[in-house]
Every structure is written in structure tokens, then in C-alpha cells.
Amino acid sequence: MAQITLSDLAHTYASNGTTDSDFALKAMNHVWQEGGAYALLGPSGCGKTTLLNIISGLIMPSQGRVLFDGADVTNLPAEKRNIAQVFQFPVVYDTMTVRENLAFPLKNRGLTRAAVQARVGLIAGMIGLEDILDRKARGLTTDAKQKISLGRGMVRESVNAILFDEPLTVIDPHLKWELRTQLKSLHRELGHTMIYVTHDQIEALTFADTVVMMHEGRVLQMGTPESLFETPAHTFVGHFIGSPGMNFLDATIEGNTAVIDGQRISLNAHYRTALGHTQVGIRPEYVEFTAEEGLPVVIQHIEDVGHRRIVHALVGETPIAVSVQEGQPFDTSMNRVRFVPGKINIYSDSWRVQGEAF
């Protein structure tokens, strides 16, 4: 287990990247705590796998340093870093049995027979591979193969970190849930530093203590699942997290009021007159329909997703989504919306602005 420090780290796949857009990963400084469960979340091509491979040593960064517990490992290759990594598609050694697959990384490190057996037995029990331990890996289902990959990733006791690169992509949906829960409890039991790359917000939010939200090679926000939901640092985070994502409405901010489409809304905090393009951000979950007060809306269509309805409406020209829980009042006379006070975020040029208390 180790604390991982990324110091002025950046990476470009071009031979000599100069402009900002050449960099798959823009300069970043982060410290990742020992024993933490981290999720790297972002859309395809945002640089999350690049960052993961830099940490594991499969890619040498163009600039900056990677430190494990303060020791510089930037120039160490993957095999010397003592990390484990699980890939998107199952990697199993077809010629070996499941048991041999799990034992392979331990054997290569010269563990005694007894130690290997004990560890393999423990991990196989944890992820439910006991029944097939003596079968050949060839011919197993994709699910089982990916379980073997996960097992091989977790079998080593003293690793600095375990890295997962979208490991559940190939798993059946019903098993996904089960494995995700297992991973979470394994993290609790084993206590390893774990970094989990995914583009699936549910996976990230359920697995990680700290979610690292990435976009276009930049870390936009690093925080608890709750903070990403409640106070997205960037409009992209607001859009990406949540289903549907956060609503953004152009507004002018004057102290503790926001003016949207000529309507005044009072805010819970005081903002210095923000420059640039200012927006109000509000989650669909924190918008309520009312009959008298609030912003007038024109309802476009309603999606019923079972336990709630999602109402798509227009405020002036701007679309807004409203999540109406079961049992919440909603009828045709209600054509205005109000925002739950304290749940409103203010953005200036896409970045969140912190308000000051009165």
C-alpha cells in the first residue's frame, strides 16, 4: 500500500507536444492517499486510461514525476513498481488452470508453495472461483475469465496499488452489480489503494470514496460522490453526473439574487459581481413545480421512469429537466418552477463560484 503523488505530471502522445491540445493529459498535481478507493471518471478519450497506465508504469509520462510513498518511481517499468492492474478485457493464461492463473504472479515473485496456496484459496473464496479452481481457463465464460483477471489483480498482498481499467465492461449487467459490491467489500477487507477507471457514473459513485472527474485531459474535480453531485466544480461535471444532468440557465448575478429571463431568484449566499458568462446550475431533483411563485415554464414532454417522472420544459428558450418524485404534487395548473434554496450553484465561464455567507 502506498500514497501516490503525481507531481507536475503531463503526457503527450505527439513526439514533441507544444500546444495545449497536444497533451492527452494536462499538467496536474495530486496526492492520492494510502488505502483510498479512487475512481477515475470521464467520457471516452478524456485521458483516464493514460493516467492509469502512467501510474502503473506501462506509459512513461512526457513530463513530471510519479512518487510512491515519496520515492520517485517515474523511470521504473511496470514490473518493478509492485502494482497490480486489471484490464478492460479478460487477460487469462489459457493453458493454465484457474488455480495456476491466480498463483502465477505470486510464483514469479518466489513465494513459498504454502503461501501461494493460502493466498489463492483466500482470493478464490472472496470472488467465488472455488468451484472452478482446477479447470482450465480456456473455455470458461467471459464473466468467469474476468473474475480470474480480477483475482490475479488482487492476489498479491503487498502491492502498492491495484488499478482497474473499466474491468466490468464485458460483464453481464446482473453480475456487474454483484462484482461491484464484491470489489467494494474487498477494498474494505484488503485495505489496498485502489484506482478504478470507468465512464459509468454509477460504478464510480458506488465504488469510490473519492471520485476524480476528468475531461479532455484535465482533472475537473476530485471529491466525494456527494460533493460531485451537490457542488459540481465545473458545468461538465454537472452535466456528466446525474441522470439527467444538472440544468444550467444563463443568469445575471447581483449580490444575492440571480436574474433569469427577467425573473429574480434569491440565493443563499452573496456573490461578488461575477465576470464572464454566468449561469445558475440546479439539479433536476431540486426543482419543484408550483402554481403561483417562481419561473414560468412551458412543459414539452414527460418521461415516466417508474419511481419518478422526468419533465422536460422550457424556461424562455432554455430547456430544463425536472424530476418529480412519486407522491409529489404535479398537475396541469402548475406551470411554474422554484429552486430548492441552498441547492443552487453559480457558474462563471463554466467554473463554479463559491458564494460568501451573509
Binding site: 492492474q85 484490464f87 478492460q88 478485457f89 487477460v91 493453458t95 514469479n108 467471459t142 490475479r152
Partner: protein
């Protein structure tokens, strides 16, 4: 809805039947005819039963040719398969050099068989050939026209030169299909070079490798043109392989009956080996799962 029965649809198969009959069945049947009959010309045939087959199975001449054939096929497989794998493993993976290697490797495969024979026949001649003269200048007593061992070496080197590329290219294709993640996982598992070969590369190559071995087996087991051009089966009978012997028997001596029985058995042996390979390949694939 009632199923419509219309047996006239069988007529649609007729063109294929005619084509196959003329291209394969009828020629084969004439051979079968010769194999079970004796003839003294004038298209008069006398039933001979299994006589020719019995004669051929007991023929020491055929045994010797079969022995030479198996030695030759075994030797070239033992050289070409490991060499082809070795070359494939060491070829550049991508970029200009990869393309260049592929083109250079493919060249020997594009040369017509008797041109290959002619090239080596001249190249190795002691009087005018580059290699022959060079060996003589080095003081090596090399002459493929009167030394059986030299003739064998020449034929084996020629076959290796001609066909190793095929094995290498097939293995290369197999290697290219291995996802990068396998190598990355192996690095992280601290696998050594042998383990990577044994547990990643070889299993992933095994399908194409089996095809390569099958193709090389069939081709070398039927080899005729190149040794015929280079040594003509000599010196003596030392490089007379099955095909060469068959042609000598059928066209040289005009022993059509024994030659026909010989060719049928020859054909069945190749069919049998191909079937074994096919069965192995199919059962292997069905064990693969998803």
C-alpha cells in the same frame, strides 16, 4: 401453411454435380479402373482385384521412397516451424520496417516452383554456380550431383528458403492478433520471456500454427517439381521422393496398374493426415468457448 413438395428443385444441383464429376470424380475413377485391372493395351482390361495393391504394399522400392519422403518432410517441418516462429517473434510489429519485412518474406512464395528449382540448380552447380564455386574455393567437397548427402542438404536448404516465409507470415498474423493488454498483464505479473511465449504467444498462435504445419506437411509430402529440377531424384535414387517415384513408374516404365494403386494409397494417406489435422483443429476450437 402446407409445405410445398417439389422435387424438381434437385435439378438446380445438377450443374455442380456435372462440374464435380468432370473435374474430380471421372478422372479419379479412371485411376481406380487402372488400379483394379490389368491391361495389355487396346483398351482391353482384365480384372486384377487387389493384386496391384498387394504388390505395392510389399514393394521395397515404395518403402524406400516412403522412408525418404518421411525423412524429408520431417526434417523440413522440424526446421521450418521453429525457424518461422522465431522469425515471426523477431519481426518489427509496425511501421516501415514491418512492411518491408513482409514484402521481403513474401517474395520466395511468389516464385514459380520450377523457377525455384532452376535457381537452386544453377546456384549450387560446382562449375558455374555462385554457391558451388564458393564452396569449392573454400575447399569444401560439395557436389550435389554425385553425393547423396549434398543433394539432401541442397534440397532441404532450398525448401527452407522457399517455404519458411509461409510459416513466419502465418505466425506473424497470429501474433498481431494478441491484444496489447496481454503483454502488459504479463509485465505486471513479472512473467519472464519464456512464460510469455509459453502461456501467451504460443496458445494464441496455435491455431494458425496448426494450419501452417498442415500446409507444409501436404505440400512437402507431395513435393515433385523442385527436386525433379535440381537432382532429378538422384544421385541414384537418393532423392527419389514419392511423387518422383510415382511419375517414374507411371510414365517412365508405363506400369499403369501399380502406379494407379500407388497413387490411390498416396492420396488416402494425405487425406487421412488432413482429416486428423482438421479434427484436432475443430475440437480445439470448440474447447475455446467465448
Amino acid at each position: 401453411m402446407a409445405k410445398i413438395q417439389n422435387n424438381r428443385a434437385w435439378f438446380l444441383v445438377l450443374p455442380v454435380l456435372v462440374l464435380v464429376a468432370f473435374s474430380a470424380v471421372i478422372p479419379l475413377m479412371t485411376v481406380v479402373n487402372y488400379a483394379f485391372n490389368d491391361t495389355f493395351g487396346n483398351n482391353q482390361f482384365f480384372w486384377n482385384g487387389l493384386g496391384w495393391f498387394e504388390e505395392m504394399v510389399r514393394s521395397e522400392r515404395l518403402h524406400a521412397a516412403l522412408g525418404r519422403q518421411m525423412l524429408f518432410t520431417g526434417t523440413i517441418l522440424a526446421i521450418e516451424v521453429p525457424l518461422g516462429i522465431f522469425i515471426a517473434l523477431n519481426m518489427p510489429k509496425k511501421g516501415f520496417w514491418a512492411s518491408l519485412c513482409l514484402v521481403l518474406m513474401a517474395l520466395p512464395l511468389l516464385i514459380p516452383f520450377n523457377v525455384v528449382g532452376t535457381i537452386w540448380q544453377i546456384f549450387c552447380r560446382v562449375d558455374i554456380g555462385l554457391l558451388g564455386r564458393f564452396m569449392a574455393a573454400l575447399g569444401v567437397d560439395y557436389n550435389y550431383t554425385n553425393d547423396a548427402f549434398d543433394a539432401w542438404v541442397t534440397l532441404i536448404v532450398m525448401d527452407v528458403w522457399h517455404w519458411t516465409s509461409l510459416v513466419a507470415l502465418l505466425c506473424y498474423a497470429g501474433l498481431q492478433s494478441i491484444p496489447e493488454a496481454y503483454y502488459q498483464a504479463a509485465r505486471i505479473d513479472q512473467a519472464n520471456r519464456w512464460d510469455i511465449f509459453r502461456h501467451i504467444e504460443l496458445p494464441k498462435m496455435s491455431g494458425v500454427l496448426l494450419i501452417a504445419v498442415l500446409l507444409r506437411f501436404i505440400d512437402s509430402f507431395m513435393i515433385y517439381t523442385e527436386p525433379f529440377v535440381v537432382t532429378g531424384g538422384g544421385p541414384g535414387n537418393s532423392t527419389t521422393f514419392l511423387s518422383i517415384d510415382l511419375v517414374k513408374m507411371a510414365i517412365g516404365q508405363f506400369d499403369l496398374g501399380p502406379a494407379a494403386a500407388f497413387s490411390l494409397m498416396y492420396f488416402l494417406v494425405i487425406l487421412l493426415v488432413s482429416w486428423v489435422f482438421y479434427t484436432v483443429m475443430v475440437t480445439r476450437d470448440s474447447g475455446e468457448g467465448t
